[in-house]
């Protein structure tokens, strides 16, 4: 009989699970999306095969875990209990890895992380710079857990907070603890979760609902997906605790369609929690009953907005509704509904387990605890990082992220997704928390962090996000739909070298209008990418408009490719790779680019051998000037 009837049953099961785990060494293979894409499944199979071949099944096991975070080193394997961290593991490494276990031949040196600074190999996970500067409260367990095993979660202390709450705490004291911790919503706005819970708890109307928002859709963000996939029970436990505090008997988990792995993971978790009696009637004999339904998204970004999400669960089009009465009071089917995102719910068990004071010990005055970021873009160590609130942006990008690759210089970092903005190099010492990011004209958002180097054009960046929103806005209200439409048209013009004086002022006027007049948070924050790039990189916009120049060389209308005849060795690689036959070869064997035909794809630049470096990117204006000079009209061009 699996069903746990009392807290004592749970503790007995925990002791058994711990004993079972401690009986073996474990090879913890990351099977997060990044590692899977790099072949982690084959690595895990090879390790399994090697263990079987050697008959070591009683001493060594393979655990397929969720995302470890260090995507740059994918596929990753961590040895438990030594914490040896292997990077870029391939199936052929299975034998040497197993040779190196325990008192064997020692770790496989070539697979250990190489510190470029010191030239030394680093063995243990926690000593690698990427991990060393993190505070992995939520993500730490991802390495230790097979998400399809509730016993793994229980072995690392899982459902301990729930047992504590149900046996020792009243719903009021659970709520009080979360309020005292000042946990702020990790999904975007940073609204205090405790206050939201309290509103729902006190709002008239039954039943009350609790909801997990797993509709993470910001470009470059994969925090919630990785957490839900890697440690689904932590989210579930947080949700049950919330339901207990609020007085809800039913919960919903809204998972976006594009997260099949996370959905499968939470499905299995719910199934297991029911089997063990951690969901359902009379949980752990406390008299408290609660169950959960999964709702699958249908691919709309805007459905991550709370009222739109609730409309979608109700079976209607996922469109925001005016929220002058909050969803925490009148949400799903008009009933009080408390919605938090994945990370917020997953934080709750830690707060109940270790106490609000412990949580308040991390972070800044206004933002407590830790926050997960997905660090991507032009940064050496791409991955999932969890840090204490208030850590300087510089530490995340340079100490953890390892800085910008290929010797390029750092230009800006985009935070908060399409609702956020860019933060320039001058603000690198900004302490990262909800309020500071907002002050800088960006926002925490759900935690996407896209690093940009000198080869990034800020007009193009604003254009990318605006175009994303043009398709992801629901289109209901005039400020968002028409504001975005006109912003995009103006940005398209500027990028095409057709910008006009006055365009920037119109963009600013539109931005202000959209912020005040839009119906929901998506529209109110939609101008942020434009507003923040204008605030910090106005001169780049002006260069595009006044001089037809894109300094990053990104806006194709404003650049051209040329062949430097001094350097060209006439190898013909550019001509062979040109998809539109835009490279001519004269009778004398001289290669030139025919600008009328060129589509500026850059294939010639890539094809030209680095040792020649003859193909160069130049401002489009330079080409015009040159042809003018050639026909004797110097000084009159453009």
């Amino acid at each position: 009989m699996k069903r746990l009837k009392t807290v004592a049953d749970l503790e007995k099961l925990r002791a058994e699970a711990v004993a079972q785990r401690n009986a073996k060494d474990w090879l913890e293979v990351c099977t997060g999306s990044g590692c899977l894409a790099c072949g982690a499944e084959a690595v895990a199979d090879a390790l399994d095969g090697e263990i079987e071949k050697r008959g070591l099944g009683h001493k060594v096991g393979v655990r397929r875990t969720g995302c470890h975070g260090f995507c740059e080193g994918a596929p990753l394997v961590v040895i438990h209990p030594s914490d040896t961290c292997y990077t870029k593991v391939q199936p052929k490494h299975a034998a040497p890895i197993i040779d190196g276990l325990g008192a064997g031949e020692g770790p496989v040196r070539d697979l250990l992380y190489l510190d470029e600074g010191t030239g030394e190999r680093i063995e243990r996970l926690q000593d690698i710079p990427f991990y060393r500067h993190q505070e992995r409260v939520l993500l730490g367990d991802n390495v230790r857990i097979d998400s399809s095993s509730i016993l793994d979660y229980i072995a690392v202390g899982g459902y301990g907070a729930l047992a504590k709450a149900l046996s020792e705490m009243t719903p009021e004291s659970v709520l009080h603890e979360v309020k005292k911790a000042n946990l702020r919503g990790r999904g975007g706005g940073g609204f205090p979760a405790g206050r939201k819970w309290e509103t729902t708890r006190n709002a008239p109307g039954e039943p009350k609902y609790v909801i997990v928002n797993a509709d993470e859709g910001d470009p470059g963000a994969f925090m919630d997906g990785s957490l839900l996939q890697g440690n689904p029970h932590s989210v579930l436990e947080g949700l049950i605790l919330g339901a207990y505090a609020i007085g809800a008997a039913e919960g919903f988990i809204y998972v976006r369609q594009e997260y099949p792995l996370a959905r499968k993971s939470i499905e299995i978790a719910i199934e297991q929690a029911r089997e063990y009696g951690l969901l359902g009637r009379n949980i752990l004999g406390s008299g408290f009953s609660f169950d959960v339904v999964i709702h699958r998204g249908a691919g709309a970004f805007v459905s991550g907005e709370s009222s739109a999400l609730m409309s979608a669960i109700e079976g209607r089009v996922g469109e925001p509704r005016p929220k002058y009465v909050h969803t925490s009071e009148k949400g799903l089917w008009g009933k009080p509904s408390c919605l938090n995102n994945v990370e917020t719910w997953a934080t709750v068990p830690h707060i109940i387990d270790k106490g609000a004071d412990w949580f308040r010990g991390m972070g800044t005055e206004g933002s407590k605890g830790t926050k997960i970021f997905s660090l991507v873009g032009k940064v050496k160590n791409t991955g999932l990082v969890e840090v204490s609130m208030g850590i300087p942006l510089r530490d995340i990008i340079f100490k953890i992220g390892g800085g910008v690759p290929d010797g390029k210089s750092f230009k800006a970092v985009q935070t908060g997704g399409p609702s956020g903005g860019v933060i320039p190099a001058a603000l690198l010492d900004l302490p990262v928390d909800f309020d500071e990011l907002t002050k800088a004209g960006s926002m925490m958002g759900s935690g996407g962090m896209i690093v940009m180097d000198e080869n990034t054009c800020m007009v193009d960046t604003a254009r990318y996000y605006t175009s994303f929103l043009a398709h992801e806005s629901c289109g209901k209200c005039v400020p968002c739909r028409e504001g975005i439409r006109q912003m995009l048209a103006i940005l398209d013009n500027i990028a095409a070298g057709k910008g006009r004086e006055g365009d920037l002022e119109i963009l600013e006027e539109l931005a202000e209008f959209m912020q005040v007049a839009s119906l929901c948070a998506l529209g109110q924050s939609a101008p942020n990418p434009v507003a923040s790039t204008l605030k910090y990189f106005r001169e780049e916009y002006e260069e595009h408009i006044r001089h037809g120049r894109c300094r990053a060389g990104i806006c194709t209308a404003l650049i051209a490719y040329e062949i430097d005849q001094e350097k060209c060795q006439a190898c013909g690689a550019c001509q062979r790779n040109c998809p539109v036959d835009a490279i001519d070869k004269s009778e004398a064997g001289v290669f030139t680019i025919v600008h009328e035909k060129c589509i500026k794809c850059g294939a010639c630049l890539k094809a030209c051998p680095a040792k020649f470096g003859a193909v160069v990117k130049v401002p489009a204006g330079a080409v015009l000037r040159k042809s003018a000079e050639e026909i004797g009209l110097a000084g009159t061009s453009r």
């Binding site: 398709h471 806005s473 629901c474 289109g475 400020p479 005040v516």
Partner: protein, 179 residues
Amino acid sequence: MDTIRLEIDGRAVEGAPGTTVLQAARSAGIEIPTLCDDDRLEPFGACRMCMVEIETAGGRKRVVASCVYPIEEGLRVWTKTETVVKIRKMVIELLWPSWQTYAEEYGVTSSRFQTGIADCSQCGRCLRYCAEIKKENRIYFKGRGVERRPALVEGAELSCRSCGECFTLCNSGWIASRY
């Protein structure tokens, strides 16, 4: 039922709980311009023409859509402040030239935007009427974002001509142009 007392443009106004600011203003003879509003239909809150400035009894100042904001005790409302006029002008300009009902009043004679909205202003009255009053649901919004458009449910062309009531609701003549 209790009566809620508030102040609109300096005048004392009363209303039953659940009344919107727009309804309360109208009952007191104060005009607020609207596009997507229709008193037979559920408030939609999309056009933002009816935005007004408010200050709650607790002293919180905001700009809100009056068609969906419920009245509350001690609320103070201003229906034609500088901020509100600026918003309305921008809405008219963004929808130019499809909808010009208030253009003269607000002094808008042209639009600075290059890609004008020539046909549907997407007030949604046609499809809301079809759903809420006629209970037919023959028209719906197709797509989202800048591509959103009202469209007939497939196969509805044959059966929906008989009513034609949406024709008269259409501000921009878009529906008529489809027949």
